[in-house]
Symmetry: C2
Subunit: 301 residues, 2 copies
């Protein structure tokens, strides 16, 4: 699982910087989370093939999180995409995209599956053999979801010498890694545990933007390998965060600590700040393992 940061800024991007978006490579599927204006430019700049995107998640209908969606939808069609694109978004964004398609008479080359999110609790929204996605409500000025992307239990690793010693035909090796017992060439049942070892750990990534801190959130992000949590404000601007239902450095650090996550990625910085070291310093007073959003940064989860 790998995250690439496409935008680091809040609602008003600084010159040359972009609002919040990131893309997750999970088991070779690309999941794009939020689409700032210019996200298609950022994807190309970071050499991510637009055609590889399978799923887009839109947290809420504030422009810095969705203005780039229609441009990407349009460009994929101009590039003659033929495979389905699935977008999970609030009803408001659904209606806006429908308006673009209708009034600009856009005929897409591919199936656009716009799925409306209206959950008030954590729900599973996607599942395949390799990973799942859950959406959970955040606490913001309009309806907003966070997302939890979890890899499924990975294959075990074959201990080749043990498999050979046990006289197992190689056609059964794959079954063994999938936790199935097999019969060897001597007709004896072999337990997969005897010839395999634990595989790579299944990873989990959670995304929380935009939101005020609230205790119920902890359960939804508990123990993830990487938590993205917005830090629009430094702690001196707590009043602004409270007013606009955003998080401060302290809020994000508290969430990471109480959620017992491995690492914390922060971003969605207000344009009032120039020095992002202050963000690191403040978070680190509570939670040490913090990473700052910088455009183009790649993070192995």
């Amino acid at each position: 699982m790998k995250v690439t940061v496409l935008g680091s800024q809040g609602a008003i991007p600084k010159v040359g910087l972009f609002s919040t978006s990131l893309i997750l490579n999970v088991c070779n599927s690309y999941v794009l989370i939020d689409c700032c204006e210019g996200v298609q430019h950022q994807l190309r700049k970071n050499k991510i093939k637009l055609s590889k995107i399978e799923i887009i998640l839109i947290s809420h209908a504030h422009g810095d999180h969705y203005f780039g969606l229609i441009g990407l939808i349009s460009t994929l069609s101009l590039l003659k995409r033929d495979k389905k694109l699935t977008v999970f978004c609030p009803l408001s964004v659904f209606k806006i995209i429908q308006a673009h398609l209708k009034f600009s008479k856009m005929n897409l080359s591919y199936e656009l599956d716009l799925k409306v999110l209206n959950n008030n609790n954590k729900i599973n929204i996607f599942n395949n053999n390799h990973f799942s996605i859950e959406a959970f409500p955040l606490k913001h000025s309009i309806y907003t979801n966070g997302f939890l992307i979890k890899e499924k239990e990975k294959k075990r690793k074959l201990i080749l010498q043990k498999a050979l010693d046990n006289n197992i035909d190689k056609i059964y090796f794959n079954k063994l890694t999938k936790r199935e017992n097999v019969i060897n060439n001597n007709g004896i049942k072999i337990n997969y545990l005897d010839v395999t070892k634990e595989g790579d750990k299944a990873k989990a990534f959670a995304y929380c933007s935009d939101t005020a801190y609230f205790d119920e959130l902890i359960n939804n992000i508990k123990g993830v390998d990487l938590l993205y949590c917005e830090t629009t404000f430094l702690k001196k601007d707590k009043d602004k965060a409270t007013l606009t239902l955003h998080s401060t450095t302290i809020d994000a650090a508290t969430l990471a600590k109480k959620g017992n996550v491995k690492r914390l990625l922060i971003g969605h910085f207000s344009s009032r700040y120039d020095d992002y070291n202050d963000f690191i310093t403040e978070v680190a007073t509570i939670f040490k393992n913090v990473i700052i959003s910088e455009e183009g940064k790649k993070i192995e989860v």
Copy 2:
């Protein structure tokens, strides 16, 4: 009058480049023509203050010409603009912007005056003391307008020594430059022509994107100091231009020549081309005074 090119590309922008937009500084008013995705970034990169934009003209509802409009409208509000912004656009773009404002619950800090264009002939859409704007239909796959921005006749220049020799009080100098006759200190009527000389020439700029060539267009751009005409295709791709109702190099050059314009600015290049010298070469076989769109290029009209 000065034009700054903000985007040079057609519908699919190349990495690091933007679709069609340009901004015109006319008598210290800023008129933005078409809004590609990321136009707010391009404006800032080119050090044009967003607050100075007074009028936006949208030619048609293809995404490469309007996807950046909502981002700019939103950012101006976040920056707490308080003066009116006037946008001229087709009904389709009007409805799309209305959908954004409604469904994302955007409350703007300023008056957004969205004016719908549905003219089928050339009409005047704006007038002030310094310049006028006319819209005229182009020939494209959806309803599209071109625009003609003309400075009004400029003040004459005072010949100071002659004014003094004629014993004219300096409080009348301004009147003289505005072509009014005055009475001098000896009670004698002075003709403004005797103490002033011709002022700067009033300039005109015409914008044609996107369009196929058609003869009736010539009258609408006749004699302008600078004509922007799209050249999506080289002449070898004439069939594609015909199919999609775009112009080739030859079409734009023919329009410039028949319209007897001073200079021609070309752009909106298809992403299939890498070498833009071919565009210059082909246009120059018919019309010599050609300028290529490069992002950030400033052209004194």
